[in-house]
Symmetry: C2
Subunit: 235 residues, 2 copies
């Protein structure tokens, strides 16, 4: 019998935001897989979060090389290699927990491995987690959506980010990272810096909270989430 | 010393999707507050989910009457009364956990109470939870977003739902409930029924999974989430 691959969302940073299910699955898996991007920010973070909540003693930990590159052929080769590495464990009968930040269905590298494992005829499942934007809203002590407002989650790498900023409802900018200067320029051009709130490294060491972006410096890390609201409903 | 109000997200249905933090906060609160809407679907669901994961023995459970009505004055009166009821417990020194489905910052009645408690000069905090759409994507075994796709969360009551359906990226329709027939018509008019997936009562008793909406009957409950994707990325 082949094992099952679980894409386990460990939440955005605070180990207490792991779900009971994530803890159980991690406990039950003999093999833990974690992405390794070669020194970039975020390497090993999902593993550290999990370790703070669950003992990984006695488990086999495999690091999958998944660099962040725009070279499609190189990306595919790394995804294929990582999937083969996971598949070998599954075929040997071991269940594997792939740890991923936030929720595994939202902008996760896990997706690339998941699809390949399914295509190989093996079993892969998502284990839902708390997305970063929910924790960021909680940290800012504001609701994301009220009444009939829409909620738009926009990756800063998304080509329509500018247009996205003009949508009605609440807009969440994720993955700003290197694009922060450009995002700030787009916000400034629309007079939105005052209304934009941001949390960096929410729930992690070095967390920073910005009630607006007027004086935000530009060393935003990969773990920044910006929230723009249409204004508050009256009580 | 006044107590603290916590808006605790208990996740979408599966009690295992509670976070460690939610369990801890519920354990530590002497008073548990739950919304009661007077017989409508969903009454008592958050309480049942929490009870399946944590013992509530010995705690005071208060039911807050929060009916679903479009009469603004009536709504405000109920929100005011509920906030007063919670404030009385806080002023008596008790911490209160208000249980809410999914994540408390996304379309939660809790928000109305939270804002009033803050306005009274008392302490209120959000405790992030797993939103229903993450669990629904996991149940369907599909990623919500890949690469640079945007993610649009649209309440079916949102006046721009039609326009929302035409956005690029992944569209999630929440709170379809009574509007399901209308939503289905909007989807049919765009040739989107085949591409729309839905889960009703995800993780709860009576869960139903629809790989498309071509033959979906119209007794969709309040707990339905529809996901529309732009198509899959190639491996």
């Amino acid at each position: 019998m082949s094992g099952i691959l679980y894409g386990v969302g460990v939440g955005p940073g605070d180990p207490e935001l792991l779900t009971l299910k994530a803890v159980k699955i991690i406990n039950n898996c003999a093999v833990i897989a974690v992405p390794k991007n070669g020194g970039a920010l975020g390497d090993g973070v999902a593993l550290q979060i999990a370790k703070s909540a669950v003992s990984l003693d006695g488990k086999k930990i495999i690091e999958l090389t998944l660099p962040m590159t725009r070279d499609k052929a190189e990306l595919q080769r790394h995804h294929d290699d990582a999937a083969e590495c996971v598949a070998a464990e599954l075929r040997a009968g071991y269940d594997v927990a792939f740890l991923t930040l936030g929720d595994p269905t939202i902008y996760s590298t896990y997706t690339y491995i998941h699809k390949r494992i399914i295509k190989m005829g093996l079993n892969a499942q998502f284990v839902a987690g708390v997305p970063s934007f929910c924790a960021v809203a909680a940290r800012l002590n504001i609701p994301l959506t009220e009444g009939a407002q829409a909620l738009h989650i926009l990756p800063a790498s998304y080509k329509g980010t500018g247009a996205g900023l003009d949508m009605c409802g609440t807009r969440v900018l994720m993955k700003t990272g290197k694009a922060f200067a450009e995002v700030k320029k787009q916000l400034a051009g629309r007079g939105m810096l005052k209304n934009a709130k941001m949390v960096q490294k929410c729930g992690m060491e070095g967390e920073r909270v910005f009630e607006n972006l007027e004086n935000a410096d530009e060393d935003a890390s990969y773990f920044s989430v910006i929230i723009l609201k249409d204004g508050e409903e009256k009580l």
